[in-house]
């Protein structure tokens, strides 16, 4: 009988900026002050967009909205690591990542206003993916395409802790490994899949170790540490560009609700929420920037004022766009060219709009003998 250890693995955890805003230089990314300020502005903007969107939903203006409050470091730190030309394949809570990729606020609001216009994408962005965990495969596919065509680019895929229970996430990591796909899987472990806590999701000690079975690298990062996330994801993207996909587990916390339809007080304690509030990613980064004299209080006020002005404009733009919705356009993008039966349904719809709803049969409406 033979018994020997044939494999072993370990998972590393990375933090650059601690909860007091003190930086470990050895883990910090090399960023200039302008980039640090932009990082800060985007995090604040993302927070304010979410807060305003929730308020607008409460007033009945928006449909269901999934805020990312508390996850700004994970989203903006990672999205800014993705160079132009790279692809982003988000889940449905990546408002911050879209903002970092240059998507204007009114488009995010359009999506929440129930308009496909909000999911018109460009520049290597995928639209939000509503099913849980199916989109990492698309990222793996894009990354496979990048490998096949020899592109020096990579793809960043977002999903949550709940998604790691879906078979598709394993299939994505496994196939990405087989095909040297240029993909980084970023799991934002925000501790809850609606009400189901991380501990009920899996018995695995970390989510990062889910990479092990697929034969790719897995690593944990403090997801509330924007500099740590940026450094780890940038390194992971470099690896992916060389054909070695990586799973990054960002440990964070969804500070607000799953969506505006959800009430987290049913399943979370105030103590737990307070504990994570003390680790807030924006507060932590702000402390660091103030301490380093990258920002001062006057500049913070100026950033906030500019954000409020931008938001006011963008909300008006979203409202104006909603006025222009033509329902008949639902027929126009199903296929590249509209097939005859669908053209007839479109015509039927138009007749209904103009009060001619009685079905106009062709010669079939009359006996012809």
């Amino acid at each position: 009988m033979v018994r020997e250890q044939v494999a072993e693995f370990s998972i590393q955890y990375v933090q650059a900026l601690d909860e007091d805003g003190d930086l470990d230089e050895s883990e910090a990314p090399d960023l200039d002050e302008e980039t640090l300020r932009e990082m800060y502005r985007l995090m604040k903007l993302s927070r304010r967009v979410d807060e305003r969107a929730v308020a607008l939903q409460r007033r009945g203006e928006l449909g269901t909205y999934a805020p990312g409050i508390g996850q700004e470091a994970a989203q903006i730190g990672s999205a800014l690591a993705l160079a132009e030309g790279g692809w982003m394949v988000p889940s449905f809570r990546e408002g911050g990542a879209y903002l970092a990729r240059g998507t204007p606020v009114h488009r995010l609001l359009w999506y929440a206003l129930g308009m496909e216009e909000g999911a018109e994408v460009s520049g290597g962005n995928f639209p939000p993916s509503i099913p849980v965990g199916s989109q990492p495969l698309h990222a793996a596919g894009v990354g496979w395409g990048q490998e096949m065509t020899g592109a020096a680019e990579a793809t960043l895929s977002y999903f949550g802790d709940g998604a790691t229970s879906q078979g598709d996430v394993y299939e994505a990591m496994n196939m990405a490994g087989v095909f040297d796909s240029h993909v980084v899987f970023l799991c934002q472990n925000n501790q809850y899949a609606i009400s189901t806590p991380r501990g009920v999701q899996t018995r695995a000690e970390t989510l990062a170790q889910k990479a092990v079975a697929a034969g790719i690298e897995g690593i944990q990062v403090d997801g509330n540490d924007v500099l740590g996330v940026h450094a780890v994801v940038r390194h992971a993207l470099e690896s992916a560009r060389g054909g070695d996909p990586v799973l990054v587990e960002a440990l964070t916390y969804r500070r607000s609700m799953h969506t505006t339809s959800d009430d987290p007080t049913v399943y979370r304690t105030e103590e737990e929420e307070a504990e994570w509030a003390a680790r807030d990613p924006i507060d932590r980064f702000e402390r660091y920037l103030l301490g380093e004299d990258v920002l001062d209080e006057a500049e913070i006020d100026a950033v906030e004022n500019r954000i409020e002005e931008e938001l006011a404009d963008e909300i008006e733009r979203a409202r104006a766009g909603r006025e222009g919705v033509d329902p008949a356009e639902m027929f126009d993008h199903v296929f590249a060219e509209i097939p005859p039966a669908l053209r007839e349904q479109r015509a039927e719809f138009e007749r209904g709009r103009t009060g001619q709803y009685d079905r106009e049969r062709t010669e079939g409406s009359e006996r012809d003998e």
């Binding site: 496909e116 460009s122 495969l137 596919g141 496994n174 097939p339 039966a341 079939g364």
Partner: protein, 322 residues
């Protein structure tokens, strides 16, 4: 110029020619590489195109989901699901993503993905290797569904599917893969999606069939003392409604034949379209000859399940005698 080819060879020729014609075509799936596919539809393609023909892990959702990404990236993936019955493992990827990508992004991303699926019974296969689900795919908005019934259409419809800017489920009747050799045009040969073919002319009744049921229907018609027009739908979605209605208006009688279970089968949709626009041309109720509403049986009973020439003939006779 034509060649005498079997259906599976014609499909292989289409793949070969599309790979040669367009560098962005990528062929992949379980066993399609070294092994050339379990039906040999991809035989030797991996040798000719080593960078564009791939074996994949056994993961249907993965195969389709990767295709969504490849297509968004600008390639033209041709994925194989080894047997259509296992496409349900990828149903969510097909319905939730491939078929919706264009609509949900208002055309800013599309999904030029062809999903080849051997389907149907008649080859004494294992349990869960024989189902026909064309009505289910046709029910998904944004998908096209093509089903060849002969080698020439196999080549032409597959070429059209690969070149089509929208996702296509391409159903290949396993029963017909090696059934006959027929003439297949050499070189570029495209059969447009959405165009049915009248494969037998007739005056007394119309029989509508597709895929594996077309040869059975032609057999049935051969033995009848009536002149029956046979319409091969070729594309289930988008369906060539006018071709069916034109024939029904001429003959006044119609039988729809399919291998899939009757309830909710695609025959029901064809009946509804006849009802909408050609009802008063009918001399008799439209008949259906279909599989039964039972799980596809193991092969000791598959001949009892699949419509054959006798059952189709009796269906046509019912339509003629009403």
């Amino acid at each position: 110029m034509t060649n005498e080819l079997r259906l599976v060879e014609a499909i292989r020729q289409a793949l070969d020619e599309e790979l040669a014609r367009d560098d962005s075509v990528v062929v992949y799936g379980e066993d399609v590489g070294v092994n050339g596919g379990v039906f040999r539809a991809t035989r030797e393609l991996a040798e000719t195109y080593p960078d564009r023909v791939y074996d994949t892990p056994v993961a249907e959702a993965g195969i389709v989901g990767m295709g969504v990404g490849l297509a968004a990236y600008g390639l033209k993936p041709v994925a194989e699901i080894q047997f259509a019955s296992f496409a349900y493992q990828a149903f969510h990827q097909i319905q939730q993503h491939a078929a919706r990508m264009r609509a949900r992004t208002r055309g800013t991303l599309n999904c030029q993905l062809t999903i080849r699926m051997p389907y149907g019974g008649g080859i004494r296969a294992l349990e869960l290797h024989s189902e026909s689900f064309e009505a289910g795919w046709a029910h998904v908005p944004g998908l096209k569904v093509a089903v060849p019934s002969n080698p020439a259409d196999g080549k032409g419809l597959l070429a059209a599917s690969i070149r089509d800017p929208d996702p296509v489920v391409f159903l290949e009747p396993t029963r017909l893969y090696r059934a006959t050799r027929e003439s297949v045009p050499e070189g570029d040969h495209v059969v447009p999606l959405g165009e049915a073919a009248v494969v037998a002319e007739g005056e007394d009744a119309t029989a509508v069939a597709w895929g594996g049921m077309v040869p059975e229907t032609l057999d049935a018609v051969d033995d009848l003392d009536a002149s029956v027009e046979v319409v091969d739908l070729r594309t289930v979605s988008p369906m060539d409604t006018e071709a069916v209605l034109d024939s029904v208006r001429k003959t006044g009688r119609c039988v729809v034949v399919h291998e899939a279970p009757r309830t909710g089968g695609f025959a029901a949709e064809i009946l509804a379209r006849i009802n909408d626009d050609a009802l008063y041309h009918l001399e008799a109720p439209v008949e259906r000859v279909t599989g039964y509403d039972v799980p596809f049986p193991l092969f000791a009973r598959e001949d009892a399940y699949r419509p054959d020439a006798d059952r189709i003939r009796r269906g046509i006779e019912r339509a003629l005698s009403a």
